[in-house]
């Protein structure tokens, strides 16, 4: 199986995730799209690990741990914003906008 297939799938998933971040307004779905992009990068790391060394898989492990921490903190922020404005639409997340 050529390397280009896996890297192509990785690029496709990353593009779908980026498009999702652009077209959705629900904060939780935005988080899901970010997880999708993180997974696409993980796939690229794993696909390159036979040629570039096993360090790629170690990095995937770290990426998964950081993604778990990010999801926990992000969802806590969403809960506190929901308490404030009864909605998770990102038009309510404009407090820090210029």
């Amino acid at each position: 199986m050529p390397l280009s297939y896996t890297l192509g799938l990785s690029a496709l998933l990353f593009s779908i995730g980026a498009a999702g971040v652009i077209i959705r307004r629900n904060a939780i779905v935005l988080f899901m799209c970010i997880e999708l992009m993180l997974n696409a990068v993980n796939l690229a790391f794993v696909a390159l690990s036979p040629t570039a060394g096993v360090q790629g898989q170690v990095f995937v492990f770290f990426v998964i741990a950081v993604a778990a921490a990010e999801a926990a903190v992000g969802l806590a922020i969403i809960i506190s914003v929901f308490r404030h404005s009864e909605s998770v639409d990102i038009k309510n997340f404009s407090l820090l906008r210029w």
Binding site: T6, G8, I16
Partner: protein, 172 residues
């Protein structure tokens, strides 16, 4: 055979990812995202990274998605969800982003050619797996070369736990 399986799971992953982006109900998005994670775990296993595949199912499809679904149900977003897909201008913007990324990828392909996956690297990875086991393959470098990042990750997880509790608790 491997290639057929790869294309099957790649189609599953891409299709589920599209459904994540296009479904309106957040619960449906979460369920399709779990499908993507399982397909990616299968692809990791096909690529020889069995431990990463198992971690993917345990941590992503297990822990993180439970967190997502729990928050969706805690906030009661699955029933009367508001329409949250932006208008056609944003759709065109998103399509343009996808086209630019795919164009960059195509340019790399045209310049570099489609290099085959090095059989030597694959064989050496398989030999290392046979020697250390699929856990030791990752665990040995992690506890020898990457001890400091590992400890930093542990502290990060602790801080994230405390921070999540502090952010989400009601004001006393």
């Amino acid at each position: 055979m491997l290639t057929i399986l790869f294309f099957f799971f790649a189609a599953c992953a891409g299709g589920s990812a599209l459904m994540v982006v296009t479904r309106r109900n957040p619960v449906a998005c979460a369920i399709w995202l779990i499908g993507t994670f399982f397909s990616l775990a299968a692809i990791y296993t096909l690529l020889g990274a069995t431990f990463i595949g198992i971690i993917q199912i345990l941590v992503y499809a297990g822990a993180i998605m439970v967190l997502f679904l729990f928050v969706i149900m805690l906030l009661n977003l699955g029933n009367d969800y508001e329409a949250d897909i932006r208008g056609p201008v944003w759709m065109m913007f998103a399509g343009g982003t996808v086209l630019v990324m795919m164009g960059l990828l195509a340019r790399v392909y045209v310049e570099q050619g489609t290099a085959p996956l090095g059989e030597a690297g694959r064989a050496s990875l398989a030999a290392q797996t046979a020697q250390h086991g699929s856990v030791g393959l990752i665990g040995i470098p992690m506890y020898q070369q990457y001890v400091v990042p590992l400890q930093a990750t542990a502290i990060l997880l602790l801080i994230a736990c405390v921070g999540a509790v502090v952010l989400a608790k009601r004001k006393v």
